[in-house]
Subunit: 187 residues, 6 copies
Amino acid sequence: MQERFIGKTITYDGRQLSSHWAYRNFGLQGDSIISFRGPCRVELTEMVDLADVLEHAPIFSTDMLHFIVEHFDLDLERTIIRQRLLIATLKDVIVQKTGAQLRRAGDDLFLGQRKLSVSIATLTPVSTMIHTGVNVSSKDTPVPACGLADLGLPDEEVEDVARDLCRAYVREYQEIKLARCKVRGVN
Amino acid sequence: MQERFIGKTITYDGRQLSSHWAYRNFGLQGDSIISFRGPCRVELTEMVDLADVLEHAPIFSTDMLHFIVEHFDLDLERTIIRQRLLIATLKDVIVQKTGAQLRRAGDDLFLGQRKLSVSIATLTPVSTMIHTGVNVSSKDTPVPACGLADLGLPDEEVEDVARDLCRAYVREYQEIKLARCKVRGVN
Amino acid sequence: MQERFIGKTITYDGRQLSSHWAYRNFGLQGDSIISFRGPCRVELTEMVDLADVLEHAPIFSTDMLHFIVEHFDLDLERTIIRQRLLIATLKDVIVQKTGAQLRRAGDDLFLGQRKLSVSIATLTPVSTMIHTGVNVSSKDTPVPACGLADLGLPDEEVEDVARDLCRAYVREYQEIKLARCKVRGVN
Amino acid sequence: MQERFIGKTITYDGRQLSSHWAYRNFGLQGDSIISFRGPCRVELTEMVDLADVLEHAPIFSTDMLHFIVEHFDLDLERTIIRQRLLIATLKDVIVQKTGAQLRRAGDDLFLGQRKLSVSIATLTPVSTMIHTGVNVSSKDTPVPACGLADLGLPDEEVEDVARDLCRAYVREYQEIKLARCKVRGVN
Amino acid sequence: MQERFIGKTITYDGRQLSSHWAYRNFGLQGDSIISFRGPCRVELTEMVDLADVLEHAPIFSTDMLHFIVEHFDLDLERTIIRQRLLIATLKDVIVQKTGAQLRRAGDDLFLGQRKLSVSIATLTPVSTMIHTGVNVSSKDTPVPACGLADLGLPDEEVEDVARDLCRAYVREYQEIKLARCKVRGVN
Amino acid sequence: MQERFIGKTITYDGRQLSSHWAYRNFGLQGDSIISFRGPCRVELTEMVDLADVLEHAPIFSTDMLHFIVEHFDLDLERTIIRQRLLIATLKDVIVQKTGAQLRRAGDDLFLGQRKLSVSIATLTPVSTMIHTGVNVSSKDTPVPACGLADLGLPDEEVEDVARDLCRAYVREYQEIKLARCKVRGVN
């Protein structure tokens, strides 16, 4: 599994959640986690979470840290569990950097009642994918929100959160693959 | 998925990690998480982690809080990811109760360099299973260890950790099943 | 698994056989069986059975009882077996109501040589689905057909067939899930 | 898939439910359904249904028609659905022969409250298997039971039930395989 | 599994790599391998190999022997291994006919540095598919190439290569299915 | 995937075909291919090929080059296809070294009617495994056989065959994993 932080600003509009995005744009072939920073603006027609579509709940943020994960298997339940583990790890990374008392509820992070992140996992014809976005700024968000800046994280350290999470996720992925291969079966 | 805290003391010796243990002993049919408290003493012949067997690393504790999880599918990688998520959730439960600065490294919890927990996931002929044990006492453990008592948790609240984790795991399991059913595929 | 009879008339035109139809229209999230009554008119471009497409065999009925089943896994063979079991159960329900001597041949029901039902099972990007339609009226059908009315079922009891089948299918689905969890493996 | 009726009397004692039984004893390689007639006597230690073990419910009959099915895949849920379909087909075969008003409840057949059959499905290390036994005689059975003889089936036609079911099951198996290959996916 | 050589010239333009192509055009239902002869001309928009798309590597040949394989399961890794085995078998067939010293490198055949074949394997919504094309003529190919004619194969024997490979692939497919059913599991 | 040639003589007696053999004995964790040289003597009780057991066909050779492959998934059909590809690659390696006109028939290699190799693939509770043995000497074999020595391979080059095959198999395994991740789906 490969990881990469993309230095330039990219607006997440949902089209990044499509198969081989990492390969077609950055040459990363195979399972990968990519991070970049930029606004978030997903039109209803691009939304994959039907619960949000049914509630006409827009996804919008002026400045977010984004993560795009792709796993080349077709087991959506497995990737949803991976997504939860990714969010739990993201929480650890942010807590370590800021000391903030964050709470994970499923695939969301909160500071008190204020929402710090959005996330979705889905299927493509050839893979499963995760998008997770964590607010840098909480300005103009559609729900009571909170951003890394509100937690006191200096702007120049936002990228460190990205790099730490990518590294941690890849390391855990490799440990999981090895853990699969060290246990005998039981009755 | 069902959950149960068993009030009586049970020694974990590895034989609990066998299929239908919850059903045969407590009548819980289907996916389940069971918790109980008691010593931990696993002989080499019962150990399922071959890395431990190869290193002749004994598993021993005088007083632990145990969790036995069974999922009736045969996807070991999926259950190893579930195991990591279980440990991340256990960390959240203990941190909330004690305020301790725990760290998760794969399927282990640490306070500094002292180990708080053991865990393994494996296959049976009909299911996958997880055992997780968290020290209550750190007396006589074979490696530098730490227990819930060392974190200042009153003895009468140990059971609360068990109940909180079981409830949280079952709730998340159900959310994951539903999350599987609310996303459209993408290209 | 959830079930629902929809009281209003809906024309089945093939577009109901698309993922999350129950969720998007009736708020049922997860595996479900939905029933409704209405005409059946499927254009060649909407047909999923290529055997019918190749034979230019139209699907048409002025009045049918419809069932739409969705299972959120991707195992089409498994869902085709479920479809056969659904038809066998539908036969039992109709026989119990009418005493008619029906015969199941694969995914079809017959009275003598007259066809009572149509059915198809297929894949969506995120699930597998079944459509089954049973004639209420046999007027104007493209092949020698038979309807529930021809079997002597009073019009006000058509809905009972729908409710009985939905209930029976959900109950059996739950029993199957439990049966999966009560057997030890053998050699 | 192959089928065979074995003309000699064989006592079903549970050991027939083991992988490659058809291949090792009758040279049938691959998926198969085998039928034979004989007593049924399963000791607790050989029983695979833990619900029966927990209830100390013996399985005993002096004269039964047995079916042993083996499918070389490892999907137990799929084979449990196949088992229900097998029982539904068995019901059709017996009804056609005897005119009796049988009722299927899951994997059991009843005449009123009297039980006609027993069945179990389970996993081997390389396959899934089904055993179904239908009483010929209801003498000395441990629960209120009913047999093919009680339904008026002449003894020389018992074998016809076996042959009819084997043929019907193999035919449906082949149709299911083909049905898998004739549908386009939908959205 | 069925096989067929189609006697008329067909241009491979990528659209043949779509589900049920064999069924819709030649009535072959289920797993199949079809062969035909004709030019090869795949536009970038039809190409499924993103590595070729990223490198703008055209696929072109004036005269090729083509093979279209469809397997009705969704395991792409399995079908990629099948593809390699198909190429290894194709090499054996050509070597036997021509005595040429061919070399297989992954899914390509070479004579020295000259490329003899192209191949790709991918997923459809209901199946996995393979296309393999082997040059008859090496005229006007975009890379240094070699054709069956260059190896000294008389034009009237090109079809024999097709028939031999189809037969060998179907035979091996059936042997693999049977081999699955003759081994006991080990510890 | 890891590979290793073990320099010391090991007798293959069937017990090497058990899960984690490479890990327990040589510390190789995860998918692996191991090669060694030594006699082959498999008692009927250790044989996994029931066809051989039924025919009381002994497996015996005084000097063989052995390969033990382990893949940590549970898809036996996939591993049987891998086995055929391994044999096809072994043929290429031997042909390149010796120029002999070998023929692959399924999982066997032949020189004319003389058998050069034995092979089997099976399931463990946690993985799938392959054993392939190729005769060095053809002395005292139970069937008309042929060995690498008979093909003129100098004794000191036998190990090269082992190393070449291990390297080629690992390289192809990695290419297959990558090939899985470079194709878009089609309709």
